[in-house]
């Protein structure tokens, strides 16, 4: 095999860019939200292009990809792009093509939307479909949410955008650390320890080091007359993160009864206004319940209803909550505030409420 085809790096983007974009590269002047899913980009040169954004499934067959290519050939001179949120974007240089393209997309079942103050594409990781660590199945959760929230993708009259993300586990591959609403898979029991496998395949000292809560200790035991080295897990300290299982098959953590999802709110990745906001815990645990995920859908809908009711114009969910106070939000959403909501990790002290600056809610009878 020829080695000169190694390390060639990414292809040259210029070769894949519509000539109008190349011509106006760095010369854009402003944009307009023409209608849901359509942005008009205006250049200093006077040129105008439209991007038409459509939702696609994250797992997509070549058959469907070819269909998208057909449309791009027909309406966009053979160019298309994808967004950082995994939507497809058609760059249309002829205004009259916009509606035709939209019609074909919609007819084929690809919703056009997700621009401006709308529900954006739901980011999710591969989940059960390709991952060995998933505590929950992110793709099916995303699908269930899309069904329930479909209209919001095509509306642009929300107070601000709503971004939802789903991660199958705490590794957060699905952008769940800073989304308006995040669904994250969680385990709730420590891993089991299969001593023989730990002994044969894993390094106890590595395991000791990678546990964030210092729950793992090495141990030496006798099994069938042989001394083997394994580890012990302190159930008082383990916080079920799955780090150790990721490194060692001898510590299985999957548990159909006790795995499930947590729901988080109020994150924001952009640096605008008060800056980045981290997602924060709303519901610590709901057992897995595919394929409809009714309970998750219900909570998410309630969050959005409150958002639509209380948010001021231009206010992201997290900004709204900060304004009215988290205690007030917990009262409105009527989800129990539990021990799990109180941080007890390294930076926990910073989260304690210093002074008397809280609001009265039903929590203070």
């Amino acid at each position: 095999m020829s080695m000169e085809l190694r390390d060639i790096g990414p292809p040259d983007y210029k070769k894949f860019m519509h000539p109008v974009l190349l011509k106006n590269y760095g010369k854009w002047k402003s944009h307009e939200h023409v209608k849901p899913g359509v942005i008009k980009h205006i250049s200093e040169t006077g040129d105008v292009v439209y991007t038409v954004r459509a939702g696609i499934p994250k797992f997509i067959s070549t058959e469907s990809v070819r269909f998208l290519c057909d449309l791009a050939d027909k309406y966009c001179d053979g160019y298309l792009r994808f967004t950082t949120r995994h939507n497809v974007e058609f760059i249309v240089t002829k205004e009259e093509n916009v509606d035709k393209l939209i019609k074909e997309l919609e007819d084929a079942g690809y919703p056009v939307g997700g621009t401006g103050h709308s529900l954006k594409a739901i980011i999710h990781c591969v989940g059960y479909l390709h991952c060995n660590l998933a505590a929950t199945d992110s793709p099916s959760i995303a699908k269930a949410l899309y069904e329930a929230l479909y209209d919001y993708f095509k509306r642009t009259d929300l107070p601000e955008r709503i971004k939802i993300a789903v991660s199958g586990c705490l590794n957060m591959c699905g952008a769940t650390n800073a989304s308006d609403i995040s669904i994250i898979g969680v385990h709730t029991k420590p891993p089991r320890v299969i001593d023989e496998v730990v002994h044969a395949q894993c390094s106890p000292m590595e395991l000791v080091k990678l546990c964030p809560t210092y729950a793992i200790k090495p141990k030496r035991i006798k099994k069938n007359g042989k001394v083997i080295t394994s580890v012990e897990i302190d159930p008082e300290k383990c916080m079920y993160c799955g780090n150790c299982y990721a490194a060692c098959p001898g510590l299985p953590i999957h548990d159909p009864e006790n795995d499930g999802v947590s729901i988080w709110v109020g994150g924001k990745a952009s640096m605008t206004k008060q800056g980045i906001m981290e997602s924060r815990l709303l519901v610590p645990f709901i057992p897995n319940h595919p394929p409809k995920w009714e309970k998750v859908v219900d909570i998410v809908k309630r969050i959005i209803d409150i958002y639509l009711k209380y948010a001021k114009p231009d206010e992201r969910l997290g900004e709204m909550i900060e304004r009215i106070g988290w205690e007030k939000f917990f009262e409105l959403i009527d989800v129990p505030f539990t021990y799990q909501h109180i941080d007890d990790f390294i930076f926990a002290y910073k989260e304690y409420r210093k002074g008397i600056s809280f609001r009265f809610t039903k929590h203070v009878k």
């Binding site: 085809l5 983007y13 974009l21 067959s61 950082t84 231009d314």
Partner: protein, 374 residues
């Protein structure tokens, strides 16, 4: 298909299960169905696979227990995409033909990091498949403790706010570090993300170890005529919400105190016909994000408040090299660079890599009285 999958095919949003169906490869949906029913995944720790000469870019999956009979293996390629995720249809069709031939007709545009993903290439075909992919002009992306596939926003290609050439920087850096993308040798993964402005459409501040964010240093440009088109409530709201208290709107006069402005983009976003970022442009370099880390989530913080960025981006490369060397020396396994810095002290890190401490790097000077004189 069982009811559990049928349910996922229903509805208005395009169904990924239908896409699985379209591949015609029953093994995939049967496997997935089993996971959903049993409420757990069935991939084990086996499947450490790769293409000759690389140690990254392929995620191997081998199923265990009963599931092994259904879908014995299900490897995927992470493919380095072009900057901005722009494609011509001819090249995408080539990719489709390629995965139809070598894998199982399933793709992802794209993974959360930025890679295109191509599914189901059997172990024995990995090398061949890769060779053909390279011929189409594509290379593999990162995985494991390496420099990961970088990511950038659409930037100057479509956006009026791009203050740096995100696409060019992405391409330059990926070319520069391509060897280290394919050969993991660091304590853990290292992600670079590049956003053209603080709107940060690529989530560099929350999801990358090394974030490059376009900013400006001079004054926000105001088109007074365009400003008049906005209703006064909008102007009032913007003035009130400016996080830096830099805007006054009084008696119909909208004024920005650029010395106070912290470049959050908010006023520009809302009043985009009237306001534009200044002309003295460059970037802020941030360091250390990790979505969920050893100490909880880490967001990226200021390392270099302002740097001019012009090809060939020599200063950026030198900075990255210094950081990688330092981290390589001091980092523990599975420790992202931000965590190594936190553990050993940001001041020490700065000293070691030869950067001056600046008040811009922290919100405030220290409040705790334990420090070293070094």
């Amino acid at each position: 298909m069982a009811e559990i999958l049928e349910e996922l095919k229903r509805g208005k949003w395009p169904s990924f299960v239908k896409e699985l169906e379209k591949t015609g490869d029953e093994r995939i949906w049967k496997y997935y169905e089993k996971c959903l029913v049993d409420k757990k995944p069935y991939f084990g720790h086996g499947g450490i696979v790769g293409v000759t000469g690389y140690e990254a870019g392929v995620i191997g999956r081998v199923a265990i227990e009963d599931a092994a009979k259904i879908l014995p293996e299900f490897h995927l390629f992470r493919i380095l995409p072009p900057a901005g995720l722009f494609y011509k249809t001819d090249v995408i069709r080539k990719i489709c033909d390629w995965i139809d031939k070598w894998g199982c007709k399933l793709l992802q545009f794209h993974g959360a990091t930025y890679d295109m993903q191509a599914f189901g290439i059997p172990r024995e075909k990995l090398d061949k498949a890769f060779e053909e992919l390279a011929k189409i002009g594509f290379d593999l992306g990162g995985s494991g403790p390496d420099i990961r596939t970088a990511a950038c926003c659409v930037g100057p290609a479509l956006c009026e706010w791009a203050l740096i050439d995100t696409l060019d920087i992405y391409t330059t850096l990926m070319k520069e570090y391509i060897f280290d993308v394919h050969r993991p040798r660091f304590p853990y993964k290292f992600k670079i993300k590049i956003s053209g402005c603080p709107n940060d459409c690529v989530s560099a501040g929350t999801r990358s170890d090394f974030a490059i964010i376009g900013i400006w240093r001079d004054e926000i440009k105001i088109d007074e005529n365009a400003l008049k088109q906005y209703p006064s409530e909008t102007l009032e709201m913007v003035a009130k919400r400016c996080p830096a208290g830099a805007i006054t709107y009084k008696n119909g006069k909208f004024e920005i105190d650029n010395e106070q402005c912290t470049r959050c983009m908010y006023c520009i976003n809302v009043l985009n016909k009237a306001l534009r970022p200044g002309d003295d442009r460059g970037a802020t370099i941030l360091i250390g994000a990790r979505a969920r880390g050893r100490y909880g989530a880490f967001l990226a913080w200021v390392l270099v408040p302002f740097i001019k960025l012009k090809p060939p981006y020599k200063e950026i490369k030198e900075l990255i090299d210094k950081i990688l060397d330092w981290w390589d020396e001091h980092g523990n396994p599975k420790e992202r660079v931000g965590e190594t810095i936190y553990r050993l002290g940001f001041g020490k890190f700065l000293k070691d890599i030869g950067l001056e401490p600046k008040p811009q790097m922290v919100y405030r000077p220290r409040a705790n009285p334990f420090w070293k004189y070094f």
